[in-house]
């Protein structure tokens, strides 16, 4: 064999190469792709991969943020700054009708609220702009039903996922042919785990929202969730205490709790993830409501 010495197969490099291949394949085969940008760490990694895929040029598609107006202020600040820095073109879409109607998880229930503000917001945006492919930063290790998701996930005209009728996906040959009514969600970082994401963020020095880092925050504990009070407005009858904590994943304020943590740097976070006792979405109310909640959402068109 020639030059084996050059072939230290480092796994992050392999995951990176795989993702770049996928991103390029989408750009080559679809007319109007878009990349979903959630402002979180997975999106951050996905965007770096998109930059790499088209270097020395810029990636030839827009970013799309489906906003619920429930995101953390730090996320909005970070988003606007970041997008400006990398010179990307960002679309912000909302389900304004329900935002105006003051949709809230506490009143509608988590599932209903998500379905209206996120899923419907996303479907309307995809339809409105005529996107045929949307990149998402979902990973298979995040959640049980995602483990069965294809990298190219075909959706019907309502954006719905049919887990029983998925296309076989072999080698790195992706079927990019669609019926006129169909669209596709593409997940280039499917094979990254949470730990891989952090390793990659460190290796690549990728900027992320400061909420991921621990600091002492004023919190209350509610049903086992740690809820920092700064974002939640007035709290009644509950004991407020100081706690060093951070966000392990970022979503909407009412539905995202923090975790107890001392991790102030990326290295600390990596250490913490390696020793983690709970899965990543522990602080997400969205998955905990029923045993099959994520699968249900995905069937409805959630990414």
């Amino acid at each position: 064999m020639t030059n084996l010495k050059h072939n230290t197969f480092k796994y992050l490099e392999q995951l990176e190469d795989e993702a770049i291949h996928i991103i390029r394949e989408v750009v080559a085969e679809f007319k109007n792709p878009v990349m979903l940008y959630s402002v979180g760490k997975d999106s951050a990694v996905m965007i770096r991969l998109a930059q790499k895929a088209f270097f020395p040029g810029k990636f030839p598609f827009k970013l799309l943020h489906v906003d619920t107006e429930f995101k953390f202020p730090e996320m909005y600040d970070f988003r606007d700054q970041f997008v400006k820095e990398i010179g990307a073109n960002l679309l912000i879409e909302k389900n304004q009708e329900w935002i105006d109607k003051k949709a809230h998880p506490l009143e509608l229930g988590v599932d209903k609220c998500c379905s209206l503000l996120k899923t419907k917001g996303l479907l309307d945006a995809i339809k409105g702009h005529g996107f045929d492919a949307a990149f998402g930063g979902a990973r298979r290790d995040e959640e049980k039903s995602r483990a069965k998701e294809r990298i190219f996930s075909v959706r019907d005209e309502f954006g719905q996922w049919d887990p029983k009728n998925q296309r076989p996906e072999l080698w790195n040959l992706y079927n990019t042919q669609l019926l006129p009514s169909q669209t596709v969600r593409v997940f280039p970082i499917s094979n990254f785990t949470e730990l891989d994401i952090w390793q990659y963020i460190k290796k690549e020095d990728i900027p992320i929202v400061p909420l991921y880092f621990a600091k002492v925050r004023k919190v209350v504990e509610k049903n086992g969730l740690i809820v920092p009070v700064e974002h939640y407005g007035p709290i009644k009858d509950e004991e407020v205490k100081d706690l060093s904590c951070r966000y392990r994943s970022l979503g909407c304020i009412p539905c995202t709790g923090a975790i107890k943590s001392e991790a102030k740097t990326i290295d600390d976070i990596i250490e913490e993830v390696i020793n983690a006792k709970n899965s990543e979405r522990e602080n997400r109310i969205i998955d905990l409501t029923s045993d099959s909640s994520m699968e249900q959402k995905k069937r409805e068109g959630y990414f």
Binding site: D17, P56, A147, L179, S279
Partner: protein, 630 residues
Amino acid sequence: MKELNKSLLRLTTTGSVDDGKSTLLGRLLYDTNSIFLDQYASISETSKRSGKEDVDLSLLLDGLASEREQGITIDVAYRYFSTAKRKFIVTDTPGHEQYTRNMVTGASNAELAIILIDARKGMQTQSKRHGYLLSLLQVPHMIVAINKMDLVDYSQEVYDEIVADYVEFSGKLDIHDISFIPISALKGDNVASRSEKMPWYQGETLLHVLENVHIVADKNMIDFRFPVQNVLRPDLNFRGFAGTVTSGTIRVGDEIAVLPSGKKTKVKEIVTYDGSLSEATNGRAIVLNLEDEIDISRGDMLVKPNNLPTITDHINAFIIWMDDEPLDQSTPYILKHTTSKVKAFVSKIHYTVNVNNGHRNKGVKSFSLNDTGRIELKTVKNIYCDSYRKNQGTGSFILIDPISMRTVASGMIQGPVTTLGEINDPVKTNKSSNIVWQKGGIEPKQYSMRNGHKPAVLWLTGFSGSGKSTIAETTAHRLFEKGHKVILLDGDNVRHGLCGDLNFSIESRTENIRRVSEVAKLFYNTGHIVICSFISPLKNDRLLGRELIEKGFFEVYVKCDIEECIKRDVKGLYAKAIAGEIPDFTGISSPYEAPENAEITIDTMSVSVEQSAEMLLEALEKDGIFTIDD
């Protein structure tokens, strides 16, 4: 950072329902600390609700609600775990016959497969089917895990019997590396730690094999293939070709040829976001910047001018049908192959295979869901391909239905179909008319580049019955499996034809060896690894071959005491020779001059056939026969 130097292993698991596949994966996740408390809490809750005593680790793996209801895994699910040495991506696929397509999907990217067998049931039809499909997809490494050993009292006998059955069966398959491990997924024996209950098992634990199996050598590092994915033109000054190196290596300054145009140029720069590279190998996603402005678009392929793929519009392929709608020969399917898409018709159906027993059904008119078999495909444009055996990336394809847009089949290319008419038609033989062939004879170097190895001659000498032929055949198989050009010359295939006029007198033996040496040289000159297996008792005769071959001649002394050979007497020849029925028989009535300076000596009284073949391969490797230097 240590974490970053981990390697990646993609593996797939197969087994029939209830063989313990999910339990084993759950066990691996659990033993490598890849299970989180909240996940564990959720499954232990579910276990309790369904009245189970122990926590059912298999629940970790059942992703979809509908499956959970039926209690079986129906689709392909992807799992991740890692140890200090490696990161593992597991495709967890169902075992039922109706899920063949899912299994094939899981196996397509796998570097290793675990086949589970329930020790109580032994080898089942399904186990054979799985073995067959894995060999079809050329998964390089296979582990047969014999599970539920706790339920058979950890009995060595039970284990040995299953192993023997499987070895016999797998001998007919095209499997490169197979090992067997007795385990209990439920109790953990021989999964991550050695079993105290099975002291008779001397091998490694499952996890140890997963962590240490050598995978780098499985990749094709020789034949440079670069299917162009995108053309990048960010500004007027830059024009680059983005893609993934499917196989082989490319360096700055290398000459390349573009298919189909046949134009040649050189690599000016290998561009990445992280800086320019001096070379890129198999799997790397890069951008190539070329010396000359050449018109190149997506679907074109960059290769090296002296190492071309097959250029053809008519291929022989093995396919697996994956759609509910059966194959229809009048449908113009979309063939996706590398980065190209081209219309293709199934021009001929050869046969389907009964995957349970390997029997061929000839005369079939169509393929339906999960059928596998051989067909011919006619494409409307040329494709640039290699056989799947040699090059997975350029040997694999999918077929897409032009109406439903579903993926209806996956396929593995065996080679081009060439009819007599086509051979005589210079356009059809299409070694692309634009590629300029060098004048004169073909250089040895060119053969090496094409074959991916240098030529060599392995000359096996030893008594009749010493084991020469078996070793020669096994070695030939091993080389053949690597995709190498190999030819075996032995008494049987030359004594009848080429040397049919010779007897066994001293003079005739010399003439026999002279002819064989000359033939060996002809093959050597065209790049083959030639294995000669002849008693060749005389030192001077053996010198002949050595003198004819400049480099890469290996004298292999297959050593075995004459007493032992007489005892073995596989062909009954010694008995006859001793009885005087065969004159001039080496060791009995004719001398044998043992080699004094053999490159390799194999003592078959203590070394197995497999080990012997391994020794020969190692010797070739060490001598750089498998290395092509530019």
